[in-house]
Symmetry: C2
Subunit: 328 residues, 2 copies
């Protein structure tokens, strides 16, 4: 099936650009509603970090290391590299008696304005703690300590990644058709959007068994610490705050977004076909409005979906809209 | 007609994202080759700056003000706001006995790394000279001096904008169905992709009349001063350098790219439906390869189209490709 028209950008009285994509809402029984092709196979990228963190909790490694919910939220994060994130990763590594050089995520400049400015203006380079995935990697290292694996924990056949893959295939209910190497060097396993939305529905309606408890704990950690999951000015943080902790949301590179709705027992997964974040952010807002878990008057709605587009002199030049046939 | 599949992003052995779009190649007689819908009506955005600059040259205003080819290239530019651009606009305004406050383009931080860093680290704000369109606006002010219009030269019914609209409709061969307000506050008139590609073909095969001379002069100015049209690290500058001044190219916001090929008498216009620059940059490279005006071994080809995608540790995670059915 073809991708659905999801998000439009208008300038004056004319549609200027259009984002296509696929979106699925699942409950524990399967697909509830879908747009585009629910069977579309995608790389979830960072949207599946709470799945990759399941072995950390289920194995007992998180408890053995005395991890807090704030650290578990950071393990599920694509963070801004702000001071709070870098410091938290630094303390985490220190507690494990490890160093920044034990990370395998690579370096990039932080998105956080202040930290970016601090590095830029003091001629410093970022280190691996600034990588948006450093919390996930601190989680990998914690699991690795527990499993006793070697230092190259991002290799696909390393015990840490084998555990992550097993959890991923179990919660998506699919044999992954393959993996790609993610921006942070960890394997990222492909699945269908329905598989990913089903996994999010499982997180939303988790039971009392070991897996259910781990799912609940990670979901609660994300909802309780939205600032650790992304950072100031980022969609994940702003949306979780706007929904007052009722819903957990997570973005992934190349236009992926997921949501876990515990009160409704629902999971959402979507991908903008072209990989644009502005489209996936607008589309998740549209679906959260559709499911009535986000207040239409909340400022995040105009920030990411309906708000006017202004130019450099503040003049309104157009607006974003959901395409006909897509909710919101 | 539907948009064509143009550019794919692959991760591992799987297509991760896909950009659709429309592209047209015209000669002076009309459409030579097209992908997607050549009749698609778009906003050309900054890709039509050489058209907007026609009245500046044709009216005699450019000569009256003694403008150099370097300044004419800047009038057609979406520049980086680097020192060379800001200084050139500053001198231009001074020569007109005008000030930065006479511009109506608004302020934004420059893309140029050094100038951005200088402003950031000295706690300075950008001014309107940094706006990527400030050269176009200096051109508007020069024409305005010649025409004797009022200071609000970006109003749609101001003589400067009436002249720009008349030139636009004449060279596209279409009555524009409407306009939007551009990022820099000037009206941006809509046209079909075929209209835009035809206009570029007219620039490519310009005759000896007043319009033809103006077209040739602007095309030559862009080709002779690629660093003024965009800046270091930008696609327009890199591509014109790679083609050793044989072809003029210009990008526009929301995924537009055009090219003027004087030796072939051809014009190209394309738009990525989703507005992504990475798609329009890759697609124009693909079409320039298709027309054999760009060397397949030139580094710009791997930079913008075929090159491997690497992650934060330098590991190759995938690649960009042209979609089956799109050339390159």
């Amino acid at each position: 099936m073809r991708a659905a028209e999801m998000i439009e950008l208008w300038r004056g009285d004319r549609r200027e650009s259009l984002h296509l994509g696929h979106a699925v809402i699942c409950d524990s029984a399967g697909v509830v509603e879908a747009w585009g092709s629910p069977g579309e196979v995608i790389f979830p990228r960072s949207s599946c970090k709470m799945i990759q963190a399941l072995p950390l909790v289920e194995s007992g490694a998180a408890d053995a290391a005395g991890l807090s919910d704030r650290q578990l939220a950071l393990a599920c994060a694509s963070h801004n590299g702000a001071h709070i994130h870098v410091e938290a990763v630094d303390r985490w590594l220190t507690a494990l008696d490890l160093q920044e050089t034990d990370l395998r995520c690579g370096c990039h400049m932080p998105k956080d304005t202040e930290e970016n400015r601090r590095l830029t203006c003091s001629d410093q380079k970022p280190d691996q703690r600034h990588n948006n995935c450093s919390g996930k990697h601190a989680g990998f290292l914690t699991l690795n300590r527990h499993l006793g694996g070697g230092p190259e924990y991002v290799e696909p056949d390393h015990p840490v990644q084998k555990a992550a893959k097993a959890a991923f295939e179990e919660v998506t209910g699919e044999d992954s058709p393959g993996y790609g190497i993610d921006g942070c060097s960890a394997p990222n396993h492909a699945c269908s959007l329905t598989g990913l939305a089903s996994a999010m529905a499982a997180f939303a309606s988790s039971g009392g068994d070991r897996r259910g408890q781990a799912m609940r704990r990670l979901t609660d950690a994300m909802r309780a610490h939205p600032e650790m999951v992304a950072g100031e000015g980022r969609a994940c943080t702003s949306l979780m705050r706007a929904m007052r902790g009722k819903v957990a949301v997570k973005t992934g590179a190349e236009g992926v977004f997921v949501a876990i709705l515990p009160e409704q027992g629902l999971g959402i997964a979507l991908k903008a076909q072209d990989g644009a974040s502005r489209a996936s952010e607008a589309a998740i807002v549209a679906l959260l409005l559709h499911l009535q878990v986000l207040d239409r008057d909340d400022p995040v709605v105009s920030t990411y979906l309906t708000g006017p587009i202004r130019n450099w002199r503040g003049i309104v030049t157009g607006e974003m809209r959901t395409a006909p046939g897509f909710p919101g």
